[in-house]
Symmetry: C2
Subunit: 264 residues, 2 copies
């Protein structure tokens, strides 16, 4: 897209459990959809270990490259939760107990009928100058430092925090998309038509994604994306026309070949 004033963002997933393969990340997709709906372009994701040097290097690099960085993981009460300290170091600020954060934790412990222990209390340590991000699920807050939004790794908690992140982001034009499905036609047969549209609509992006690999079920999804609804509609209409002979040709190889539009 040549003319795109949308803000840009990166995601940082922090945690040995993701890189060891023990845990399947689901936060990337949740945040990607969240940003897409706000017109913020997600341009990069990095997943790093619970390693101080690696976390600091990654957040410094991403926070100067993109408008926003959203991180998940490493803000719990145990020894492997080092994200808050890393953020303080990355931004060269001190870190200490944040009174409002502590109050949230104490209130929650009281409500549950126990005394806040020292480990849970660690979750009140927030880099100086950071603003809290509300956690409607389990009280312990995230925080925003500069253009970096530091959130929990547990998906339900992370999702809850996004509600408090949304109003702090400059929004852009939402990227719209339309999806065509070529049934029983491999993507190479559609490539000429796609390439032609892609060249003529510089502000749209076109993707081609094969699905199904078994004889009974295969084909290609063609996704056209862009901010300009009119251009999008025009491109899809042209693409449909250009694909008519492709489908006709495809029926000679497989009589079930067809083209339809699907949601998403």
């Amino acid at each position: 897209m040549t003319t795109n004033p949308n803000p840009t963002a990166a995601i940082m997933i922090i945690g040995d459990e993701i890189l060891s393969g023990r845990t399947v990340d689901s936060n990337v997709n949740t945040i990607a959809r969240f940003l897409g709906a706000l017109g913020v372009d997600l341009n990069e994701v990095r997943m790093v270990r619970d390693d101080e040097a690696q976390i600091i290097e990654a957040v410094r690099s991403l926070s100067v490259t993109y408008d926003y960085v959203l991180t998940t993981g490493g803000i719990g009460p145990t020894h492997d939760d080092i994200t808050a300290d890393c953020m303080a170091k990355a931004f060269s600020v001190d870190i200490s107990e944040h009174p409002a954060a502590l109050k949230l934790l104490q209130e929650r412990a009281e409500k549950a009928g126990w005394t806040l222990n020292d480990n849970s209390r660690r979750m009140a340590r927030i880099p100086h100058g950071a603003e809290l991000i509300a956690n409607p699920v389990s009280a312990a807050p995230g925080f925003q430092i500069g253009n970096v939004f530091v959130m929990a790794g547990v998906p339900k908690i992370m999702e809850g925090m996004l509600a408090d992140v949304a109003p702090r982001l400059r929004t852009g034009r939402k990227v719209l998309s339309r999806t065509l499905r070529l049934n029983f036609i491999g993507e190479s047969w559609a490539a000429d038509a796609l390439r032609d549209i892609d060249k003529r609509y510089a502000d749209l992006s076109l993707g081609s994604y094969p699905f199904g690999l078994l004889p009974g079920e295969f084909g290609t999804q063609l996704v056209v994306r862009g901010q300009d609804a009119e251009a999008l509609d025009a491109a899809v209409s042209e693409l449909k026309t250009a694909l008519e002979p492709v489908v006709e040709e495809g029926r000679k190889r497989n009589p079930q070949a067809s083209l339809d539009e699907i949601a998403g």
Copy 2:
């Protein structure tokens, strides 16, 4: 882990469809488990757009930092499949049709009863000096250039290619793990015991992962990981002992509190 001779690796996931949120990546977890079983330490993941500059910068950076880089995506027949060209540029080599790759594609087309079209033929373009990676699913090969393994993005095809990647990797000591589950006890109550073991077993890594957030189902999984089976067993045994008073204390808050060991 202070003494770890294992080879290191990074994954690069290439594709707008992942960053737009349209597609949920599953390749990271598959490759993470594959590498773990070979004793190769996965230290970083980057997900990037179908963008030449971004792909080249990422692969150059990762290939000098880690022993191996495994990439997925962008080697199909359409205009948005730019990975092979980017790899040629990143390694400053030419790219052209590879006779053996072309033969594989032609044989497959023949078998299916059609003529290879020019777009599919693009999938035979391989950077000079690269070695093919066999694709048992759909013929179009991946390739290895230097320490970078370039694979397809479609999960089934990518998995098929891993079989031909495995014998080319130097293997290390497999990382073993044992998992304890604290039922109805939040992780902050286990943090002291964990921290103590973590300090005394420098070659092991200990992780703490809360699960469940509803009153009827919550707790903490404690994962101990390392290459040395004896040290692992000793640490887990000490951890169990250290957690006995934690469980006892926990029963005062919730009579269902308990500790058990689970697989994985």
